[in-house]
Symmetry: C2
Amino acid sequence: MSVRRYSGGVTMHDVAAMAGVSIKTVSNVVNGYPYIRPETKRRVEEAIDHLGYQLNITARNLRQGRTGMIGLALPELSLPYFAELADSVIAAAEDVGLTVLVELTGAVRQREIDVLKSERRRLSDGLLFSPLALGQEDAGLLDVGYPLVLLGERIFDGPADHVTMANVDAARAATEYLIASGRRRIALIGAHPGERIGTAGLRETGYRRAIEAAGLAVDPALIVEAGLWHRSTGAEAMHRLLDSGAPVDAVFALNDAMALGALHALHDRRLAVPDDVAVIGFDDIDEAKYSTPTLTTVSPGREQIARTAVDLLHGRIDGTADGPFEQVVADFSIVVRESTAPPR
Amino acid sequence: MSVRRYSGGVTMHDVAAMAGVSIKTVSNVVNGYPYIRPETKRRVEEAIDHLGYQLNITARNLRQGRTGMIGLALPELSLPYFAELADSVIAAAEDVGLTVLVELTGAVRQREIDVLKSERRRLSDGLLFSPLALGQEDAGLLDVGYPLVLLGERIFDGPADHVTMANVDAARAATEYLIASGRRRIALIGAHPGERIGTAGLRETGYRRAIEAAGLAVDPALIVEAGLWHRSTGAEAMHRLLDSGAPVDAVFALNDAMALGALHALHDRRLAVPDDVAVIGFDDIDEAKYSTPTLTTVSPGREQIARTAVDLLHGRIDGTADGPFEQVVADFSIVVRESTAPPR
DNA sequence: GCAGTCACCTACAACGATGTACGATCGCCG
DNA sequence: CGGCGATCGTACATCGTTGTAGGTGACTGC
């Protein structure tokens, strides 16, 4: 029934002419308007089939003032956590009939600012934004006038809904897990010195609380900085720590990529994981299941985050949600694998 | 200068009224039409600033019949190769002024078919499509009537431009590299038995050619199947191979994810890489630099593939390219790392 | 002094859909 | 039989932009 070529020029007008009805009736059929005689509906549908008609979404968008698209602004897809997050967001959006437009900021401050005012914003009904360079002092920039949902821990109490992880609690739980399995010299990799708000600052806070609650001392020599959280920076940080000569029996890397880099560095130095050093990460990326050894990590409920964020945004867009801005904290759990087995 | 809220209802009409010109003149200013008196242009620009006007892209899209968007249909972003490819494609598209709409098929046949006819196609000017479930027999489905560029090795000589890798040559080079470093019992992981066209079939062909050219025999016991190319399936395949008892001194995994899974399995079995078994992968994902040991792999020129594909599609969209369908084969290289060092 | 260009701007009609308002038909009630 | 509500359709304006055609001075060249 369908035509050979993609329905280049077929419009409702053509369908209407063929079915012998008005163009609005075609529109009504397409949109499931109930009061149409079965006979009329059938004729219209036949014409649609025959002509291979497809709705011109652009025209509908213009008329309705909505596009059915949402932006998803992320640092980069090369980082597995963000790739997997994007995957989950796209799936969640699909479920509620939204299309996702991915935009990459490279974690560059100016590009994160641009994304908020980009012309593309007129093309999407709302934005899911995971900033990495903006901080609390930029909260004012977020008063944008279109539906916005924030992801991550860079900005709190901004003028937008916010989906975040229980960073402090989760980091504390991760550290406590290491302590409970007999570790005492627990390093932290990926610190951002001086930061309080932000993923690094919050997770470090959790780490400190666990150590102090256990009656141990926080040793500054064990807290290692890493600006970007890549495999490479994790490996470098691990090397710096080992070079410093400070004794270590466990490492809490603030994300999995760094943890995997650290595993690599430890292997280079002929240190056994977990026998000499235990390693725990954060994010539960797929890769953590297949590293050598497999990586114990904090699972931050990625699916839940994606779904919640999309639902919040969706609610704001179609106006079913219009209360004060919400802050949702996702559940976490610790996934125990080989890298933290107690020392023999 | 700019207004507080997002420019909700400001249209060219408002700008025109404020500047005391016709709406078309505003359009001309916005679009850089040259014949406008500097004085007029200034007045219009002031009005734009003052009102915080932003062009309504949807209206322009409707009028021009183009959207400035392209679709990118991929199996999933959880696979690092595709995530990195998406990253490169989005960057390349940005450079030529195109926005990318990512669609995930999960490598499910019906969803790959749907993506070709989806309503979203009307929202994008063209499609970059990387099928995994469709095959040569489906080439007919690709006669879609809108600009289409294929990625990958599932379909050749379809009615579309095509960017692919030199799979046979690259796989042959990878295998030859193993042979040259002294390996003789080289297993292949990830085969799709019976497939000739398709990534697996082509790479297996390259593998066979290298073995035969070296005067060795292809041992069917060393060719292990894996349908999906994940870390998990790579690990499982490796286990099956070792369980079979066939002696092995090297593994060519048809992608990096499986190679990393294989590394993991070898570690489980207390086999040393590269001393007992060498491992080589394919894709050169970022992770391969940081595995333990680091992974030798084939780099398929991902950036080049992304850029070429976007350029081809862009050319078809704005009509600067209208010749016969092109087939571009990207350059490859072998990246040598620890996993293939010659045995001690 | 008059046609022919150039520079600059405007009016109008599209692009393809949908919301609104209203007209027609039908059955059914009192 | 007149009237009324429930169905079923239509005509028209409209979303915000851009292409087309055309109009108006000013300047050039002969």
